[in-house]
């Protein structure tokens, strides 16, 4: 068992550094369904099997064709004529012995006819190269069941993804440039005391130049307050004056030249961000005000339970502030002083989290759930990330497709520029319409390309008419889409396979923020865009 653990640690070392042990655990507990083992499908699955997803189930009613072998790495000519789900599963399985793979030799339509609840069991369903009628049906089944659904499509040199998830909560959003949570503008009691225990004016030189900059800023802030009516330096001019105040505090040698005190330099450099007023970010505020946070029931997911607990903290003990995050950046200081300061923040964070725990416990009790339904660990992680919480809510396919609820404004405003990626979306909708009418995609046979152009044009127009869209779709795009002949070039499939798998990992691990809700990629111009449709 331990052997297995270390060998996994070794194998997954390079990714554990991105999503951690708990992210990996989430992956290993996931069961993903992938429909259609086309090139795009197997590329996505490859990128999920390699990092060690728990279980996958491949659903595909097709037989392997020569065309498949031509663009799909996980199908070989010896598998021609076999069921595609089975053939691909065998080869994908080889990639990682820790992953277990199943296959179902059935088309999704059949499964939807006979037992739609088949799809309820999955952590995520990924539908690849599905006809419109199938993904609309499947979409409504999964929407009802609350199973996240990712639609992926490679159409010539165009890539398309659509994510449909009612509500996806993220605790660890891993923001790129997060500000530190230092509370210098509103120091908590323990921090105040700790700052008071330092006397910069009566310190040995060695201590003076090894006092963490946070304390230096706090000290000079006191001085500043006494001269400025207890107001923080707000604008550039005031901040500059505050920096000067700190600069004047640098010790000088017997000749009057300033000593080299790097901690003071750091303090000056950090003035701008360190004095950022402490407040609850609007995204977190929105979460507190959400209905799901308001009305906790025994069915409420732990995210909302804890969110409620944190809200209670903010409104009571926290005096309008989130629990202290408890981490400080690296800085110039002697180890002893640094660790002491670090502990001040860490202890306060633990204390705050404990208070949140109490609130959560009371909440659990009120809805008749045992207190151990949320773990200490979970609450701590939540508190630490309280400023970065995210909730992604996608619109359903039904909303996107209904003439009453579709996002007309987004489409119309994007289409002011005729080369917006939005045109690709309209074209995909049009080729689906073409398929509905002709039971094939335009341009799949070279000899038909010319006549298909006109037919596709009719589809574009009828789509625009149906939705009363007064926009211009350039003929170039109609020609281009006919030329594609619904082909699935491998390099586009590879690109989309990487992107889709990454979104799947975000959904499964609840780390990082997935796109919302439509992604379009143009391989010709190397551009991409996301839209809320």
């Amino acid at each position: 068992m331990t052997d297995n653990k270390t060998s996994k640690e070794q194998k997954y070392d390079r990714q554990l550094r991105l999503w951690g042990d708990h992210g990996q655990e989430a992956l290993e507990n996931a069961h993903v369904c992938l429909i259609n083992a086309t090139a795009t499908g197997t590329e996505i699955l490859k990128n999920l099997v390699l990092p060690g997803i728990g279980v996958f189930t491949l659903v595909d009613g097709h037989k392997v064709s020569g065309e498949d072998v031509g663009n799909n790495f996980f199908l070989t000519s010896s598998s021609i004529g076999k069921n595609r789900a089975q053939a691909a599963t065998e080869l994908l399985q080889e990639l990682n012995s820790d992953v277990s793979g199943n296959f179902v030799e059935e088309s999704p339509d059949k499964l939807l006819d006979n037992s739609p609840e088949f799809f309820h069991r999955f952590s995520l369903v990924i539908g690849v190269q599905l006809p419109e009628s199938t993904y609309l049906r499947l979409g409504s089944v999964l929407w009802e069941a609350g199973v996240p659904f990712l639609i992926c499509r490679t159409y010539g040199l165009i890539g398309y993804m659509r994510l449909i998830v009612k509500e996806h909560t993220v605790v660890e959003s891993h923001p790129d440039n997060a500000l530190e949570d230092l509370r210098l503008d509103q120091p908590f009691t323990e921090l105040k005391h700790h700052v008071e225990s330092h006397d910069l004016d009566n310190m040995e030189k060695k201590d003076h130049s090894h006092t963490p900059w946070i304390i230096v800023v706090a000290k000079y802030l006191e001085k500043w307050y006494s001269e400025h009516n207890s107001q923080l330096p707000k604008n550039y001019k005031e901040k500059e004056a505050f920096r000067q105040l700190i600069r004047e505090g640098i010790l000088t040698n017997e000749n009057g030249t300033p000593e080299d005190e790097e901690n003071f330099e750091e303090a000056i450099k950090n003035v701008n961000t360190a004095l950022n007023p402490t407040k609850v970010p609007s995204a977190t505020e929105d979460i507190f005000n959400a209905e799901q946070c308001e009305n906790i029931t025994s069915q409420s997911p732990s995210f909302w339970l804890i969110a409620h607990g944190v809200r209670d903290f903010v409104r009571n003990e926290g005096n309008g502030k989130l629990p202290v995050r408890g981490t400080i950046p690296d800085m110039i200081a002697d180890s002893d002083k640094f660790i002491k300061l670090q502990n001040v923040y860490r202890d306060k964070a633990m204390k705050d989290a404990a208070v949140v725990s109490k609130h959560v416990e009371a909440l659990l009790q009120s809805v008749g759930k045992p207190p151990e339904s949320t773990s200490e660990q979970e609450i701590k992680l939540f508190c630490k990330n309280a400023a970065f919480l995210r909730v992604v809510r996608c619109r359903s396919l039904a909303e996107e497709y209904s003439v009453d609820t579709f996002n007309k404004d987004e489409i119309t405003s994007c289409m002011y520029s005729t080369d917006s990626e939005m045109v690709l979306y309209l074209m995909l909708r049009s080729v689906d319409r073409f398929y509905q009418q002709h039971s094939r995609y335009p341009g799949v046979y070279n000899y038909q390309v010319e006549e298909d152009i006109n037919k596709l044009k009719l589809c574009v127009n009828s789509l625009l008419q149906e939705y009363s869209l007064n926009v211009n779709v350039k003929d170039d795009y109609i020609h281009e889409f006919c030329r594609y002949g619904a082909a699935e070039p491998h390099m586009v499939a590879a690109f989309l396979g990487g992107s889709a798998a990454q979104e799947a990992i975000k959904i499964i691990t609840h780390q990082f923020v997935p796109f919302n809700n439509t992604f379009l990629y143009n391989a010709m111009s190397q551009t991409s865009a996301t839209f809320q449709l």
Partner: protein
């Protein structure tokens, strides 16, 4: 093939099956790329990689499986691809692309080169080779969720080296040896220790206290006294660490006592160091061992010692972050030292991250990037450089390469026949090393200066404010009696040069040039520097700083003791010949 119908024009589709491409690297991007290439219709592919397969590759390098661990990446990648796509024609090389066998002629065999590398030295090298051979190059890289792809085509785009890259952080020796203040200092020290004990000994990787620390202002008399006072192991200072360790039979207690007790006590005697710092605390073996918190360093030492013995006499171990005993040893040693210097301990996971400069790597990013590479490849083969996502700027090296045999090409030939006659350099003077001037160096071969295949030389002509970067490519296959061959055209006069600012600050050459100068004066006015000699990535870190310090020195020369030194040279040799090169190795 079905996938070619539609999206690709027929001529392009046909050209795929006839063209030859080179993939440099069969790792994360390389595996994906090979697959994409064969499935897009590329038929003739050569792949080169000097690496072997490691367990930590398996989370993304899908052409490899557990049973392949330890085997050649290029070879296994080839076999795996052929298993799925038997019709492809793939050649695999288990070798370094920097090996001179892969000369300009080799590169000219291809219509396109694609980099899938993980280090800058090799990237620089392939960049220069492709510029010299005038073969388009697609450069790429990934780090965690981030990735990039760019097309480099001589005369049309920027090259890989146009934009200065951030350098890897290095630490001064005395910080590592005497006054570590951050965990990374202790980790670097522990890695040095590994090499001192088990690997290749390197004088720049000393681990014992540094008595030459400028902060100490050493008094030699005190030093001697202190040395005898604290030096219980008598001879350890005189023999190498490895020899000493071997003589003790890698006795873990003796090792421990020297490294974490005696050496630390010695450091304490350098009291100046601890006036402004917290002094280190020597450790006691029995106490520490009872705690057991640092892992059992003696076990790691023992494992490594037996590995060393197994390899036979004179063998060396190579530190590898993915080799558990080596990693365990470094973790334990680093943590012990962190404890000595009152730092908080780091987990093995974190130590590994820092010691191995680990860049997170995942399948998804590589998949995306490899897909993009092929799309750029198609545009490149189609000569749609305008459509490529790349920067179309004047290139830093002006696409100049000189091909010659470094062991045959002399400095004189290079400076006069090549620089002066082929390029618009008026007064070639070449600076050699810090002190030398050298006259006699004239007939020295380029190889004597450490100039090798792929070295980049910078010629500054202060007479005209002209800077030329020359990529030197070593070749054994020049025609008879041809000493060198120049690839690419130098501009008549340099436009905006992309060399570091210092280049412009040294303006005295310019001022001098106001009057027609004597030959000796002219000779002083430009120099050739080796700006990069393609060592390990770490060596390139010194590039900028060394360069600037040398330049400063030169400035100084020209200003002050110029006259004296010049006279001396004139005495020895005709003025024309005074030349030197600064070798920045």
């Amino acid at each position: 093939m079905a996938q070619l119908v539609g999206p690709l024009r027929k001529e392009l589709a046909d050209s795929l099956s006839s063209c030859r491409v080179l993939v440099v690297g069969a790792g994360g991007i390389g595996c994906e790329l090979l697959k994409n290439l064969v499935l897009t219709g590329f038929k003739n592919i050569e792949v080169i990689d000097l690496d072997t397969i490691d367990v930590s590759n398996l989370n993304r390098q899908f052409l490899f499986q557990k049973k392949h661990v330890g085997k050649s990446k290029a070879q296994v990648a080839k076999e795996s691809v052929l298993r799925f796509c038997p019709s492809a024609n793939i050649t695999a090389y288990h070798d370094s692309i920097m090996n001179p066998d892969y000369n300009v002629e080799f590169f000219r065999n291809f219509q396109l080169v694609m980099n899938a590398l993980d280090n800058r030295a090799a990237r620089n090298h392939v960049n220069r080779m492709c510029l010299a051979a005038d073969i388009p190059l697609i450069e790429s890289g990934t780090a965690g969720y981030l990735g990039q792809v760019t097309v480099i085509k001589k005369g049309q785009t920027e090259c890989y080296e146009c934009q200065p890259k951030p350098t890897q952080k290095t630490f001064p020796g005395c910080t590592i040896r005497n006054t570590p203040s951050e965990p990374i200092h202790c980790i670097v020290w522990a890695k040095y220790l590994f090499n001192q004990l088990f690997g290749e000994e390197d004088a720049d990787q000393e681990v014992s206290p540094d008595t030459a620390d400028p902060e100490v202002a050493w008094n030699p008399a005190d030093a001697a006294a202190r040395a005898t006072a604290s030096n219980k192991d008598g001879d350890i200072k005189r023999v190498s660490t490895k020899e000493w360790a071997r003589s003790t039979g890698y006795d873990p207690v003796k090792l421990f006592n020297k490294l974490f007790k005696d050496d630390i006590m010695y450091l304490l005697t350098m009291d100046k160091l601890w006036k402004k710092r917290k002094a280190p605390l020597p450790l006691d073996w029995t106490e520490i061992h009872q705690l057991g918190v640092f892992g059992y360093i003696e076990n790691y030492v023992e494992t490594l010692r037996s590995q060393l013995i197994e390899k036979g006499e004179g063998a060396e171990l190579v530190w590898d972050k993915d080799d558990p005993p080596a990693m365990d040893f470094v973790t334990a040693a680093a943590n012990l030292r962190m404890n000595v210097f009152s730092m908080n301990m780091k987990s093995r996971f974190d130590v590994k991250s820092m010691a191995g400069n680990i860049i997170p790597a995942i399948a998804t990013t590589n998949a995306v990037i490899a897909g993009l590479i092929v799309l750029e490849a198609l545009k490149t083969l189609n000569s749609d450089f305008d459509q490529c996502r790349t920067v179309n700027l004047q290139c830093c090296s002006f696409h100049v390469g000189v091909i010659g045999l470094v062991q045959i090409l002399t400095l004189a030939v290079f400076a006069f026949d090549c620089l002066r006659n082929v390029f618009p350099v008026i007064g070639p003077s070449v600076q050699v090393s810090m002190k030398t001037t050298s006259v006699s160096n004239n007939n020295k071969f380029l190889s004597d200066f450490g100039i090798r295949n792929g070295s980049r030389l910078q010629a500054d002509d202060f007479l005209q404010d002209y800077t030329l970067l020359v990529n030197l490519i070593h070749s054994e296959e020049l025609e008879k009696d041809v000493e060198f061959e120049v690839v690419g055209d130098a501009p008549d006069k340099a436009p905006v040069s992309s060399v570091p600012e210092e280049g412009k600050n040294i303006a005295n050459g310019n001022k001098d040039s106001a009057q027609p100068s004597t030959s000796s004066k002219a000779a002083e006015d430009d120099d050739v520097l080796i700006v990069d000699s393609d060592e390990e990535p770490s060596s390139s870190t010194m590039e900028t700083s060394l360069e600037s310090s040398n330049r400063k020195r030169k400035h100084h020369d020209a200003d002050t003791d110029d006259a004296a030194s010049k006279r001396k040279r004139l005495d020895q040799q005709p003025a024309d010949d005074d030349e030197d090169i600064i070798a920045l190795d």
